[in-house]
Amino acid sequence: MPYKSDHYEDLAWRIMKMKSLVKQDIMGLNGDEAVAYAVKQADVDVIAAYPITPQTIIVEKLSEYVANGEVNTEFVCTESEHSAMAACLAAAATGARTFTASASAGLALMHEMLFVTSGCRAPVVMAVANRALSAPLNIHGDHSDAMAQRDSGWIQIYAENAQEVYDSIFQAFRIAEHLDIQLPVMIGLDGFTLSHTLENVQVLPDDVAKGFVATRQLPTVLTHEGKNVPYKLDPANPMTMGPVALQNYYFEFKRQQEEAMKNALKVIQQIQNEYGQLTDRYYGNGLVENYKLDDAEVAILCVGSTAGTVKTVVDELRAKGVKAGLLRLRTFRPFPAEEITKALGKARAVAVMDKSMSFGGNGGAVYHETRHALYDSPNHPYVVNYIYGLGGRDTSPSQILSVYEDLQKIVQTKQVAEKIRYIGLRD
């Protein structure tokens, strides 16, 4: 079925308009290369990483840049992902701008250190080339790895295409290092669909990129010497980070992290605006992206590259007069509940697409939280869950079309037979 998309025509127009703003070159990059190129331009001090499919190209490219002397970066080859995250935490603690990348089992091995990093308020940025978890072994793309880390205290942003991957890396450093946040940020790119697919990516001139990320700022902390000093390991101003905090203080530190997440809801929007003014590329408001949603009766909410497929289907349906729309959830942590309520509160039926399972959880993670957010809207729509694409199984436009047909049926009959459904699963 041929799909004609005004989404892409819009994109072509934007590319032409671009030339009048900052001069940007177009490079052929896959998602992984886009990450590496952005990191190269972001003036990163330390990279500690361990390769894993489908993230390998990121680490390969970065080590190449370091070996060629193209960057002023310390590259640490660690013996595992647990060590990689430990090294990143230590580097970030000295005030260095720090980056790593991982996926799947590698991210799972980092699990313990993810909490230590966010708890130490270390603004590490990590690209995650989202991949399925074993067993059975599978190297392809789904969101099982990152969704399993949703309570690790990391900000999570998922990109739709290689261009957004590139753009999000710069934003990630600014978000992570913002004085009101000081939390690590994970940028998700769908394994293979984004990580290994060549796309045209507009890249910023080096000086503009460097100017945008600027120098890492440090908050001031009160130390045991009674001094207010920048938060970094420095022999001149010794301090203890992340020591033991028991019944009388642990709780207070966790509440601080929650406050930083709340602040991130505002800061992500501000930084995305600032970046948009520079490049004329905006991804919704940075938290969610509305696509033909204002008058939509039936809507899909999804995360990541699937949104591209959904947009073409929305265009097709709109051409036929169906009031279909899409809400792409770009930022999953912090969860933009208010924006979701605003965007979907007027729809009549919503399908939430989860590319991971929460076994025994009565639906996927994105579904849980979306439904939870919509509970407060006065006329909340019917909300159904579609689990799809596990282990990288392809999801076609015709399958998305059938989701919208299901939603139309729900609107007509006012009945939901099955709340949790599977796309492309053999029964």
Binding site: H224, M239, M241, N248, F253
Partner: protein, 91 residues
């Protein structure tokens, strides 16, 4: 918790200590405390090395050791290691 404790809005982030650990007297964790038999003690100072809390101090002005009970957790390693069995642990 006690009202003397700071709120989450007042404390430094990431558990950065705003007080030295010297003000946190871990000695009150102990059940047993060390007692020395001066006749058996040869001042070999092995106990000062073995003490995991650095709570046995060599005082050069006295020419003798001193137990710092503010930080002695009462583990009894000193009593166990003492070659002349000069240290015993008492409740």
């Amino acid at each position: 918790m006690s009202s003397k404790e700071k709120s989450w809005k007042e404390i430094s982030p990431a558990g950065v200590c705003w007080k030295s650990s010297k003000t946190y007297l871990t000695g009150d964790w102990k059940t047993y405390y060390p007692v020395r038999d001066m006749e058996k003690c040869t001042k070999c100072l092995l106990c000062t090395i073995y003490c995991p809390d650095g709570a046995i101090l060599w005082k050069p002005e006295k020419g003798d050791i001193e137990f710092d009970l503010s930080f002695c957790k009462g583990c009894g390693i000193c009593a166990n290691e003492c070659p002349t069995k000069a240290i015993t642990m008492k409740i």
